[in-house]
Amino acid sequence: MTLSRRAVLGAAACSSLLPRRLFSATPARLRIGLLLPYSGTYAALGHNITDAMKLAASERGGKLGGREVEWVAVDDESDPAKAPANVNKLIAGEKVDILTGPVHSGVAMAMMQIVRQENVLTVVTNAGAQAVTGTLCAPHVFRTSFSNWQTSYPCADVMLKDGRKKAVLMFWNYSFGQESMAAFKEGYAKGGGTIVKEIAVPFPSTEFQANLSEIASLKPDAVFVFFAGAGAAKFVKDYADAGLRDKVALYGSGFLTEGVLAAQGAAAEGIKTTLHYADALDNPANRKFRESFKKATNREADVYAVAGYDTVHVLAQALEKVRGDTGARAELIAALETVRIDSPRGRFRFSKTHNPVQDVYLRQVKGGREVVVGVAMKEAEDPGAGCKMGK
């Protein structure tokens, strides 16, 4: 039997129209886009997230849902102005199957605008802006890190239980600080606490002396703050130097001590913070994760690395259910929505707005180390205000 040229061409044309999932022999590589900072202030966070994602993938033999993973990384420089170009580069230029990132909330907001239009499956691996799983939520967008609400709302209850009913709030006056404060106030007012004064510090100013004198004269029961990074290191030192540490208890979201504990030294002693993770969490998944991360990178894992690590495991679980077919969008999203994993942070699942439902821990600095005192809020679920996903 001889084949005519036309028949061969016709068969070839037909086969290219068939859906990819029918070909299980050599599936195409799974292209995962990473929109993360690799330079600038947040470079260390970007590297930790990336390395933890690669670690998780290698734990699964470098394959997710049977498809080899190919990483496409773009340095977002934590610059919201460059975000649209960077997102488009990954979506239109690199044609990634799944987009992940970023660290900076401003970049996340710009990214959300685009992925909502382009309908790309997206996993937010750090940025805590409320809008990601609130007003801008979308069926194909998930978040594996936290919402700002989750880092601060539970702390209100902790303070009230400690008998501190009069508080001063102090924060960096940008979206993260404002959202943290709004969440805290919501919880504090509900529990009958009074806020004596709100001190908004322009970002990224670190000259706190004038405001510390103000706090000293107001004499509240406690101070709740949002600062992070270098600002957090300096605030905690200044607070102790001003003699306030032993007189007015200091509370904050976990970012107050995260990553800067060594720089703060003895000044951080006794500070209570709330966060969905702590290095010292004592569970098998965390011990294993910290050990392998250290082995792979020679660095200590942190809360940022955990989000990267979980992102890949979450994706892997869901992709296995659809056998690696990212084209089966509805099934893949349904699979993601029902994912349950034993994360280093503890049990973890997605809420209706696709934000993690997770325990928020109460941590305290004791002897220069972060100690887990207990659970500040069991299965904390972000209210997802403004989300119209129709569920």
Partner: protein, 292 residues
């Protein structure tokens, strides 16, 4: 605001102003004498802070670290002056801004490569780790008081050197007419190198003294640089005495702005600068060099 809080805030403002003065004095000195707008001044502040941290980790003593870091800063100053700044004396300010801004980028990358992006705390020497009461609830760490005192001493010493010594006379002469001084047999190139490295060392020293108070972090130089320029402009470009009053004014304005007009806090310093410039377009004591 109660009287005691008011007094406390004045103390805070003066203390902040004195540290700003130490940084700004080097900037204004270099501009007054060499006529160079040095954007890299903030980088020298950052380098000083990083050296203080790094050397105190190695030697275990902050005071020893400072003693080692000052000559290091002087050497850095000489090297930068010889290799880069010296080529710019005849050029306009735009070339100077471009070059020194390039130096800022260079030093930032150098810091990243050498010490990474982590935030570091610097421990105050044990002998100075005590505090004194300030008002009812607050305390004042000895290191802060000492830093303020050191700033005053350095300011007085600078004034004495510039006004009362033979070297100071040459500096003043070099500032007003470099060609004439050279014709009289004084090595102006050497003179300028000394002044530039003195400016570098002053910025570095400010960073070293501030390191235990501010912690050490990437980009710490840029914040200080902008405020230093505000101080220098308010004081009158090139005037050390002007920088002193300018720094105190900025320190007080910033402190009271934060408490009285919190919503306007980040702009208050610039509002003060605008007001001073409307009143005295050349700054409080500008543009003549010290002593004229």
């Amino acid at each position: 605001m109660s009287l005691s809080l008011f007094v406390l805030q004045i103390v805070n403002g003066i203390e902040y102003g004195l540290l700003l003065f130490l940084v700004a004095s080097g900037l204004t000195l270099v501009f007054g004498v060499l006529g160079v707008l040095n954007f890299a001044h903030g980088s020298f502040y950052m380098l000083g802070a990083y050296l203080a941290w790094w050397l105190s980790e190695r030697t275990g003593s902050l005071l020893l670290a400072i003693l080692l870091a000052i000559p290091a800063m002087v050497l850095i100053g000489v090297a930068v002056e010889r290799l880069a700044i010296a080529r710019l004396y005849a050029r306009d300010h735009l070339s100077q801004v471009l070059l020194t801004y390039g130096l800022v980028l260079l030093f930032n990358e150098l810091q990243r490569a050498l010490w990474g992006n982590d935030v570091h705390g610097v421990r105050t020497p044990a002998a100075l780790a005590w505090t004194m009461p300030l008002g009812e609830t607050q305390t004042w760490p000895a290191w802060r008081a000492l830093t303020a005192l050191a700033c005053v001493c350095i300011g007085v010493a600078m004034r004495q050197i510039v006004l009362k010594t033979r070297f100071g006379m040459r500096v003043r002469a070099g500032a007003s007419n470099a060609e004439m001084v050279e014709a009289l047999g004084i090595d102006v190139r050497r003179l300028f190198a000394i002044v530039f490295s003195a400016g570098t060392a002053l910025a570095g020293l400010a960073g070293m003294l501030a390191a235990p108070l501010t912690t050490v972090y990437p980009g710490m130089g840029e914040n200080v640089l902008i405020l230093s320029f505000v101080v220098v402009v308010i004081g009158g470009i090139g005037s050390i005495r002007g920088a002193f009053f300018g720094a105190l004014l900025v320190g007080l304005a910033d402190t009271f702005g934060k408490v009285l007009l919190p919503g306007f806090a980040s702009a208050i310093v610039y509002a003060v600068m605008a007001a001073v410039l409307l009143w005295r377009p050349r700054g409080l004591l500008g543009p003549a060099f010290e002593g004229r």
